[in-house]
C-alpha cells in the first residue's frame, strides 16, 4: 500500500472546523473541484482486490447480457380509495394541491362535481371514483397524518380538452416496461376493470393502467 492519505479537506479544506483555510479554496471554491481531493479518492482504487471479488465478477461476466426491453411507458401512479391506478404521464398536465370545488346548479351528471379554479382558468371537476365505481374507502395511511393530507388534484388533458379529478394519493411517475404489463382478467367485469388497458405490479401493489381512450369516451358520455 502507498503512503497514508492526507485528509487536507477536513483539516484546511471545506470540512475544516477551524479558520485555517487552504489557499486553493479561493480558486476551486469546494474541495470536490480540487484535484488533490480527486486523486485521494481515486487512490482508494489502488487497494488490493477483496476476496471473492474476482470470483463474483467472473460469474457475473460469464452470464449472457440480459436483453433489456427498451419499450417502456412512463406512468403516473395514484390511489383512488382502495385502488391503485395509473395514467400515461404524457396525458397528465399538472398535479396540484386540493382546491375548492364550485358546484354547478342543475347539473344532472353524477360524475361532474363542479368547476375548479386553476390559476384563473375554470376547469371541469369530475369524480373518477364515481365514473369507475371505486369507493372512497377507509384507506387512511397513518393516524398521525391528517386525513386528506395526501389528496391531490390531477389535471389531465386529451385532445386539448382538460379535466380535473381528485385522487387520494400520488406516488409519482414510474417507468414500466411494456413486457411487465399484463392483460386484465376477462372475468373481471366491473366498471373499473372495463376501463383498464392492463395491470402491472409496483412495489407489491397491483396497479391498473387506465385505458385513455375508454376513459375519455366514458367521461365525455357522462357529461351529456
Amino acid at each position: 500500500m502507498g503512503e497514508p492519505i492526507d485528509n487536507c479537506w477536513s483539516t484546511i479544506g471545506i470540512w475544516s472546523r477551524t479558520d485555517k483555510k487552504c489557499p486553493r479554496l479561493q480558486e476551486v471554491l469546494h474541495c470536490r473541484n480540487c484535484d488533490v481531493y480527486a486523486s485521494a479518492g481515486r487512490s482508494l482504487l489502488m487497494r488490493e482486490i477483496p476476496r471473492d471479488y474476482r470470483e463474483y465478477w467472473t460469474v457475473l461476466l460469464a452470464k449472457e447480457a440480459a436483453t433489456k426491453s427498451t419499450d417502456a411507458l412512463s406512468i403516473v401512479v395514484f390511489r383512488l380509495g382502495d385502488e391503485w391506478l395509473g395514467l400515461p404521464t404524457k396525458m397528465i398536465k399538472e398535479v396540484s394541491e386540493m382546491r375548492p370545488v364550485h358546484g354547478i346548479p342543475n347539473a344532472k351528471s353524477a360524475v361532474v362535481k363542479g368547476l375548479v379554479n386553476v390559476r384563473g382558468e375554470l376547469k371541469l371537476w369530475v369524480s373518477m371514483g364515481t365514473l369507475l365505481s371505486v369507493d372512497k374507502g377507509e384507506n387512511i395511511p397513518s393516524p398521525l397524518l391528517r386525513k386528506n393530507i395526501l389528496e391531490r388534484l390531477v389535471i389531465f388533458v386529451k385532445d386539448s380538452e382538460q379535466f380535473v379529478f381528485p385522487v387520494s394519493e400520488i406516488i409519482g411517475t414510474h417507468r414500466i416496461w411494456r413486457d411487465n404489463i399484463r392483460d386484465v382478467p376477462v372475468t373481471a367485469a366491473n366498471s373499473m376493470y372495463s376501463h383498464l388497458a392492463g395491470l402491472f405490479e409496483l412495489d407489491g401493489r397491483h396497479v391498473g393502467l387506465l385505458d385513455q381512450e375508454l376513459l375519455f369516451n366514458s367521461l365525455k358520455r357522462s357529461l351529456l
Binding site: R42, L44, L45, M46, R47, E48, I49, Y53, R54, E55, W57, T58, L61, A62, K63, E64, A65
Partner: protein, 155 residues
C-alpha cells in the same frame, strides 16, 4: 476525441474509446496454453471466450497488479486480415477517460512496422501520453496462433 487513459508503470497511455466495448473488473482467466506469455488467459465474456492481453506484461515483462483500479478493457480488435474480434486488454490504473485533441498527437517516429502498437505521442503538463493502437497489439504470427486455435475450438 475520447480516450481511456491508463498507466503502465509511471507512464501514461491511452486507447481510443471508440474501440472499447466494455470496461470490466479483474476476473478469473482460464489458462490458454500454447500462446505467448503476455496472453494471460481466456475470459468468459457473456458465454464467449475472449483472449486477454496483459499490457504491462507486453510492455515491461511484469504482470499487472491485482488492485481495484486494474481493469480489463474489452476492445474491438481488427486483425490484419480485416476480421473483427473481441480482445481483452488488462490495464493498470484505468479510472478515467480523457478528451484529447487528435491534432496534438505526433506521429510516432519509430519505424512503422506491424508490431508498432504505439502509433502517436503527445505531451501535456504532466508529461507524455502515448496512444496505443489496439489493432497492432498482436503480431501477425501471434494473431494466427491465438485466433486460429480459438476458431478450431469453435468448429
Amino acid at each position: 476525441m475520447l480516450f481511456v487513459i491508463f498507466h503502465v508503470g509511471d507512464d501514461r497511455y491511452v486507447i481510443d474509446a471508440c474501440k472499447v466495448v466494455e470496461v470490466v473488473p479483474l476476473v478469473r482467466l482460464s489458462n490458454f496454453s500454447n500462446t505467448p506469455d503476455y496472453i494471460t488467459g481466456l475470459c468468459n465474456y457473456r458465454a464467449q471466450p475472449v483472449p486477454v492481453v496483459d499490457i504491462r506484461y507486453l510492455f515491461e515483462g511484469i504482470p499487472s497488479k491485482a488492485v481495484m483500479s486494474t481493469r480489463i478493457l474489452l476492445v474491438n480488435y481488427s486483425s490484419y486480415s480485416g476480421h473483427e474480434h473481441l480482445l481483452g486488454v488488462t490495464v493498470e490504473y484505468a479510472t478515467e477517460t480523457v478528451k484529447l485533441d487528435v491534432e496534438r498527437f505526433h506521429q510516432s517516429t519509430r519505424n512503422p512496422s506491424e508490431e508498432n502498437y504505439i502509433s502517436n505521442i503527445m505531451t501535456d503538463k504532466h508529461g507524455i501520453i502515448q496512444w496505443v493502437d489496439v489493432d497492432r497489439l498482436l503480431s501477425r504470427r501471434d494473431y494466427d496462433t491465438l485466433y486460429g486455435s480459438l476458431a478450431e475450438m469453435v468448429e
